[in-house]
Amino acid sequence: MTRPDMSVEIAGIKMRNPVMTASGTFGYGAEFVGYLDLESIGAMVSKGLSLKPKAGNPTPRIVETPGGMLNAIGLQNVGVDAFINQKLPYLKDVDTPVIVNLYGNTLEEYGEVAARLDGQPGVAGIEVNISCPNVMQGGIVFGTDPQAAQEVVRLVRNNTSKPMIVKLSPNVTDVVLMAKACADAGADALSLINTLTGMAIDLDKRRPVLANVTGGLSGPAIKPVALRMVWQVAKAVKLPLIGIGGIMNARDALEFILAGATAIQVGTASFLDPGAAQQIARGMEAYLAEKGIPSIASMIGALEV
């Protein structure tokens, strides 16, 4: 029997299968060598990079909640230049596309980070995280205001020739409105969802558990919300989508494909099992083989409602 064709393409980035690693949950890739074969997955997404190195938040930064976890890491990262000089050379020898997740504390920083990555041959594409506060405008999150999001996307578009994925925040009233705004501003693809803002309280101490008070919820608890958002956006925009949120196994991943995602990202699952992304890729292929489905492409958006 011939193996099912698992390959997909997102904005010109060719991937051997639809399984990517989610930003902030896979380090810079090298941390996972020995637990999985980096060349068994579709693409790697780096930790979110900023112009300058970022220290991140005080601790405690993480706490487990039922079926999920809250994190308030505070976007700690080595900065775009150190990434290019110290992390990227290792990844260049790995035959798997590297997508760089980036963010800015100001509008201008987004453009500058994108510009510095533009000439880098080891970077297959960029993923723009718009779920961060704009320090110049009282901390309003770029990704919750359609106009602010469009400004970011346009500026990055003008500073990059790479495929540009825009990562949407779920902390909005109407995700479709945000998706359309980003599509109109020049995004090549959309990834969703980022974490849902939440909090945890220590009753006896009468204090929030996280030093930052609030944090981003990820893990199985958010999967239904993520699926719904992917499905809604898939009906409304033509761009390829990357589904993210609580994907723990191959069946979860395939549900996102049915809902309209071309590819998926594995986040929190990599903490439970550092080899999760590889196992999910393998499991997806096994499912198609078992059901006699010739290609993953035929399942994209094939949900019957």
Binding site: M69, S270, G275
Partner: protein
């Protein structure tokens, strides 16, 4: 490494404290004291994350069934504090758990001939047994200062004594050993030519680190922090490095840069 491990025994050694032995691959014999494992209690989403535990012991045993060579095991010593450890305490011989280990940076034994001083507070004793075994095997003189709130918190002392380790016990309520804090007993015995290895609650580690620094005694501490991944990817488990300021931040990962740190590496204020 990541592997499935079979529970060999899981015994309550003191009220609320369990000692669990599990099978392990031979490669674990290469681990060093102070390193830890991440254990997935159940193959389900609640509790979701792995739980970190220090390596209490690593060794080999001869299984009872015939025709089988020696087999490697690892042990953890744990306190039941919440959902994960409660579920763990219900496991029996033959149950399977999923382990990631050896993780992190362990203790550095230091030059031969020094007096090796181990300081454990409560469950902080866990990684010190593997260390004591290793040091005794190297022919070092080892002393242990163990402290706890009451006698129930003083764990596996006879195990240490069996190795030939000289032990000093103290409890807050005086139900075992001297009445008082382990640090008070330690201070009476501090001198040159010593090296301290400490694990326990952070306030105790702070007291030990500052005392060691003021006596000019080198000191390593094994730290804890909430962890998600254990491999340096999530950046959830950081502590402030010695030179950390808000303007020039310096965070260290407990899982990757630690859990064992030189006392001078960290900020104690």
């Amino acid at each position: 490494m990541q592997f499935k491990s079979m529970v060999l025994s899981n015994v309550e050694v003191s009220p609320g404290y369990f000692r669990m032995r599990m099978t392990a691959p031979q490669e674990l014999l290469e681990s060093s004291p102070g390193q830890f494992l991440m254990l997935k209690v159940v193959d389900a989403i609640d509790p979701l994350l792995r739980r970190p535990f220090g390596l209490f012991d690593v060794g080999t045993f001869a299984p009872e069934y015939a025709g089988c060579g020696t087999q490697c095991y690892t042990e953890i010593l744990y306190k039941v504090v919440g959902k994960g450890t409660k579920m763990l305490s219900a496991l029996h011989h033959g149950d399977l758990v999923d382990l990631l280990t050896p993780l992190g940076k362990g203790f550095a034994a230091g030059p031969a001939g020094e007096e090796k001083v181990l300081v454990g507070g409560g469950i902080g004793l866990a990684p010190l047994y593997y260390l004591a075994k290793d040091l005794v095997m190297k022919g070092e003189k080892v002393r242990l200062f163990a402290g706890g709130r009451n006698r129930d918190d003083i764990l596996c002392i006879t195990e240490f004594e069996r190795l030939g380790v000289e032990t000093y016990v103290s409890t807050d309520d005086g139900t075992l050993g001297e009445r008082g804090l382990v640090t008070q007993v330690l201070e009476q015995h501090l001198g040159s030519g010593m090296r301290i290895f400490a694990c326990g609650p952070t306030p105790m580690l702070k007291a030990v680190a500052l005392m060691a620094q003021s006596h000019g005694v080198p000191c390593q501490v094994s730290m804890e922090a909430g962890m998600a991944c254990g491999v340096g990817a999530c950046l959830g488990c950081v502590l402030k490095g010695a030179n950390h300021t808000d303007e020039t931040p310096d965070y260290r990962c407990v899982c990757k840069d630690g859990p064992v740190f030189d006392s001078f590496e960290l900020q104690w204020s």
